[in-house]
């Protein structure tokens, strides 16, 4: 069988997963709500009455449940995109390391230590500063 770059990339979209038309369609309502959190008044309205605010954006049952449980992986499964979800996380005072910990099952400290350890993977002799 010959190599097909399109199905190869489609396989990659499913495996990683990547936010493509399928996820973007499924996640539209959830992402629309998160996009609204660019405005402070909307963040406050969410905090004042989460149920009513979610209803206003017609979240699916799956999305509403994921938000209620603060379950980031479930929000992603429901089509949430991390750039928009970050705005929801901000309401709860969660940064990207908190999100990383929640998604990987590590503690925040373990997650931060894992980030630092990537420095060990810099190849020997790699030029991390300009040539002098």
């Amino acid at each position: 069988m010959s190599f097909d770059p399109v199905s190869d990339d489609n396989e990659r979209r499913r495996a990683i997963p990547l936010f493509d038309g399928g996820l973007a369609t499924r996640g539209f309502a959830l992402n629309a709500m998160c996009f609204s959190f660019n405005e402070k008044a909307n963040r406050e309205a969410f905090l004042a009455d989460e149920e009513a605010y979610c209803a206003k954006f017609d979240l699916t049952a799956e999305q509403r449940d994921a938000v209620a449980r603060r379950d980031v992986l479930a929000m992603l499964d429901a089509g949430g995109n991390v750039y928009y979800l970050a705005k929801l996380a901000g309401i709860f005072g969660l940064g990207v390391q908190d999100l990383g910990a929640l998604q990987t099952g590590m503690s925040v400290d373990e997650f931060k230590a894992m980030l630092v350890r990537w420095a060990d993977e810099i190849p020997a002799g790699a030029r991390v500063k300009e040539a002098v």
Binding site: G21, A24, A32
Partner: protein, 280 residues
């Protein structure tokens, strides 16, 4: 004909804005990152660009999924930043250069790049933070802005090959411009990082080095992958390297001197880098 005086490439992680706000530049965590910038600041102080053509991606401030342009060029007299929802200060506005923007837009469409044009465009941390890093503490930006936004959010993304070609078309546009502005080309974002999913926290120093080592002399080497392959290699947000690839194209196919390079792991969840190239 505009004069392209250099190319400035940098990560744009929101956490950098937090560090600047707190004054953390000299702390052990941040120092190895911030020390990449004084050489660029000094170079800019002498080179005095008039205009910055900036390739970056929006993170859900200006564009939503209802309308998601693959490539969008700003043609506004002014570009404001705004609240992005997670606590960064609102950054200074940029003055635009509508005449140059419309020239670039005309030239790109003639060149068969069917871009979206934006007479109103908010710019997010991906534009503001790079300039906070190199013009710290200025009252107003000393450069005008021509912003070019590349979709790195919703697949299908443009391929690295297409982004390099877009950049090269922008270069041709700048070469046919009637003014004599001194232009700085910028590409922001990256390098390797992934915020979402079970692989959150992923980085790839090998791929980052491949990009850094080929950026100046052989940018075509970066176009051998599809956008999906880049996401696999660099992480889901590491695809922001597309902005660097387009910016390198806009510098033109001439030899480059690497004036400055800094690569550091980690800044927030990201392998961070800054590079300054100057036509040799």
């Amino acid at each position: 004909m505009a004069k392209i005086i250099g190319g400035y490439f940098t990560s744009h992680v929101p956490g950098i804005g937090g560090a600047i706000m707190r004054g953390d530049q000299e702390t052990p965590y941040w120092k190895p990152f911030f020390e990449g910038y004084p050489p660029i600041q000094q170079w800019l102080a002498e080179a005095k660009p008039d205009v910055a053509v900036v390739f970056s991606n929006d993170h859900g401030l200006n564009f939503f999924l209802d309308k998601m342009p693959t490539f969008a060029v700003g043609a506004a007299p002014q570009y404001d930043n705004a609240d992005e929802g997670w606590g960064l200060p609102v950054y200074k506005s940029f003055e635009g250069h509508p005449a140059l923007s419309w020239h670039v837009i005309d030239a790109l469409v003639r060149d068969e790049f069917d871009i979206t044009t934006c007479q109103k465009m908010l710019v997010d941390h991906a534009v503001s933070i790079p300039f906070e890093l190199v013009y710290p503490g200025v009252e107003s930006w000393p450069i005008k802005l021509v912003p070019i936004s590349i979709n790195t959010v919703q697949y299908p993304l443009p391929s690295p090959k297409r982004c390099l070609a877009l950049g090269r078309a922008v270069h041709r546009a700048l070469m046919s411009w009637g003014g004599d502005e001194r232009v700085l080309i910028c590409g922001t974002g990256g390098l390797s990082h992934q915020l979402d999913g079970p692989r959150a926290g992923f980085m790839n120093p090998d791929y980052d080095m491949f990009c850094l080592d080929n950026l100046a002399a052989n940018p075509d080497a970066l176009t051998g992958h599809s956008a999906e392959q880049v996401a696999e290699l660099a992480g889901t947000q590491g695809v922001e390297i597309l902005n660097w690839i387009a910016a390198r194209g806009a510098m033109g196919d001439v030899a480059m001197t690497e004036v400055s390079r800094n690569y550091h792991i980690p800044i927030s969840n990201t392998a961070a880098a800054s590079v300054l190239l100057e036509p040799a």
